[in-house]
């Protein structure tokens, strides 16, 4: 029950964050010096056309009313019309989000799947060569600019070694409609298209790796620190004194409590992961929301920019909510005390 109230509190908190976020975005969007209506119509537009467009966008109304309009749209899930694509921003984001989601999901799986074991290895052999190697890797992964890594991977794997494709999600010649989830890896399996699955995976590998490296390093670092911290706890000493074998101490007694801080921080780091996606998607021509975001930002496509930032924020908040639930499962203290 405490957990439920904890969850409710967290959901309310998330809503609050989203309201704040909407205000921030709105303020940024309204300080644009150029006239979005004029830009949308192009240089040949007449003043009347501009005025009509301004009215259409609600730009002629008082600022509070504009915000109210914006919020009202948001609650209906309506992010307005993109000036760039002349389509509802919703549609644009819906189409591009799946690609970003797939990329980010695989990135997180990669980051966790390799980062956590690496951290465990380093902690177990603390100050021995595996530890040194992992720390070395982690620090390099953390400080290598993601765009630089993306370029290096692209050139190395795609251009020099011809190992993997370097742009897009699927080869041009491949026809496949991802109509269930939008995630190619899942939809291809549902429809039994193993060839599509293979290609999608091949296309996903480099961008996911470029994006995952920093987080992977961070996870390895945090897991290591957390494991070492836990290994100094009295209850690990106690488990030793009670004759619990070492392998069990490491895999069970240490791992589970060690898992909480990296997981929590993973949630917070998620924002920088989304930021990284902006760069990586550009380099790999990944047809995702981040690439869409960059394009619309450069075109000063206000509705789209607000939509992309808002959706990134919602994504962030939801991931953190999911992580809270996960942390709750891993750590009864959170479940019972209702905070972390």
């Amino acid at each position: 029950m405490e957990f439920l109230s904890f969850l409710i509190k967290r959901v309310l908190w998330s809503v609050l964050v989203l309201v704040g976020l909407s205000m921030v975005i709105f303020v940024i969007a309204r300080v644009v010096p150029g006239d979005p209506a004029r830009m949308a119509l192009g240089p040949r537009a007449t003043p009347e056309q501009v005025a009509t467009m301004q009215a259409e966008l609600g730009l002629d109304q008082p600022i509070l009313q504009q915000y109210a309009l914006f919020i009202e749209g948001l609650t209906r899930g309506d992010l307005g019309k993109s000036l760039l694509t002349e389509r509802p921003v919703n549609d644009d984001i819906r189409e591009t989000f799946a690609a970003t989601f797939e990329l980010v999901l695989c990135t997180m799986i990669l980051a966790m799947g390799f980062g956590v074991p690496l951290g465990m290895i380093a902690a177990y052999w603390k100050d021995k060569w595996p530890d040194t190697a992992v720390r070395f890797f982690a620090i390099f992964a953390a400080v290598t600019p993601s765009f630089f890594l993306a370029l290096l991977l692209q050139i190395l794997a795609g251009y020099v070694l011809h190992l993997l494709p370097t742009t897009g999600r699927l080869p041009n010649s491949m026809e496949f409609e991802a109509s269930w989830t939008g995630l190619l890896l899942i939809d291809s399996l549902i429809s039994g298209r193993l060839d599509v699955f293979g290609e999608a995976l091949r296309h996903l590998l480099l961008p996911a790796l470029a994006l995952a490296a920093a987080t992977m390093g961070q996870m390895a670092r945090l897991t290591r620190a957390s494991m070492i911290d836990v290994s100094r706890q009295d209850y690990i000493e106690a488990a030793r004194a009670f004759g619990i074998p070492e392998w069990l101490r490491v895999t069970k007694y240490m791992l589970r409590p060690s898992f909480v801080p990296p997981l929590t921080i993973m949630g917070l780091e998620f924002a920088s992961l989304i930021g990284g996606a902006f760069v990586v998607e550009m380099v790999f021509a990944w047809p995702g929301m981040a690439a869409y975001g960059i394009r619309t930002i450069l075109q000063k496509d206000l509705n789209a920019v607000m939509g992309v930032v808002m959706v990134s924020g919602v994504f962030f908040v939801l991931v953190n909510l999911a992580i809270d639930v996960l942390v709750g499962f891993v750590d009864p203290r959170v479940r019972i005390r209702g905070r972390r």
Binding site: W13, L16, V17, L18, G20, L21, V24, I28, A29, V31, V32, P33, R135, I139, F140, A142, V143, T144, P145, S146, F147, F148, L151, L152, I155, Y159, V160, L222, A225, D229, I265, L268, A271, S272, L273, I274, G275, G276, F278, V279, M282, G293, I294, I297, L298, K300, V305, V308, V309, S312, G313, F316, V317
Partner: protein
């Protein structure tokens, strides 16, 4: 085994320096940072072609590979890349100094206020922090840079406008722990002013954490800045900027690899230095929680 005097009361400074100097990564970090900062400051005197910072073109000498004359080769208009990389460090370091110069005082004061006063102050400050955490700094900087104009100052302000949140969170949690401790309570009982408690009692206890975080953040701010200029929202040419150099050099990969790889390595090197230094300081001050 050596016969040492069992003097457990080693002097603090010596002990610190000893621990620091025995930490090879920390020492490497310190050396890198000192090297980069010195090089950036002395750039006009130590670079072989200081005029290549500006709009110098020598199309006969374009795309030259690294050599004894041009250590890092030359770029697409024939400028010495080594010179431009060294000058490029200035922009990166400037970015870090300005962003953190804004973020640290703001974050520290807000964090202390939220942690110490509690109540509505805490609620308001920490909720704002939560909101700001949900926006990736890079995305914010992109949005602001595009909305205003692609200019370094705007990018810096945009990054700074979010970066303080991490400091606020950190200082907040330290302050909350300190608030209940005896020496604070004692100071309160003795009627010390709030100002005194915040800045004379709490702040000194945050200094080591701030030092570690600052060093680590320098690296990360530099990376965000580099990503921005890579995406074309950096400083306007011809001023050298490492991220822009990588982006431009990327057009000439892999044949003229040095034009993007070496500036990229410079970013990596600088960020690495600050990270190693931060790691070393963290071990030194034993503030495990700071990331």
């Amino acid at each position: 085994m050596t016969e040492t005097t069992p003097d457990l009361m080693l002097s603090n400074a010596y002990q610190n320096w000893y621990r620091f100097s025995r930490n090879p990564t920390a020492m490497i970090g310190l050396v890198i940072v000192v090297l980069c900062v010195t090089a950036a400051i002395l750039a006009p005197y130590i670079t072989p072609f200081p005029d290549h910072v500006g709009a110098v073109t020598n199309f006969r000498a374009r795309h030259l590979p690294p050599s004894a004359v041009n250590w890092f080769g030359t770029d697409n208009v024939g400028r010495d890349i080594f010179t431009r990389v060294i000058f490029g460090l200035r922009i990166s370091l400037l970015l870090a100094v300005v962003v953190l110069g804004i973020a640290i005082p703001t974050g520290t004061i807000l964090g202390m206020a939220a942690g110490y006063f509690g109540g509505w102050t805490e609620i308001i400050i920490m909720r704002i922090t939560d909101v700001a955490l949900a926006i990736p700094p890079l995305v914010m900087a992109l949005a602001v840079a595009a909305v205003l104009s692609p200019d370094l100052l705007h990018s810096m302000l945009a990054i700074a406008s979010l970066w303080w949140t991490w400091h606020t969170r950190m200082i907040y949690s330290i302050t909350r722990q300190l608030r209940t401790q005896e020496f604070i309570e004692a100071a309160e009982t003795l009627g010390a002013s709030k100002f005194h408690i915040l800045f004379r009692e709490i702040l000194p206890n945050c200094v080591s954490a701030i030092a570690v975080k600052t060093s680590l953040d320098c690296g990360f701010v530099i990376l965000v800045g580099a990503a921005l200029s890579f995406l074309g929202l950096g400083i306007q040419p011809p001023t050298p900027d490492l991220g822009t150099m990588v982006a431009q050099g990327a057009s000439f990969l892999p044949d003229f690899w040095w034009e993007s790889v070496l500036p990229g390595c410079a970013i990596l090197f600088l960020a690495l230095g600050f990270n190693l230094l931060g790691d070393g300081l963290r071990d030194l001050f034993d503030v495990e929680d700071v990331r």
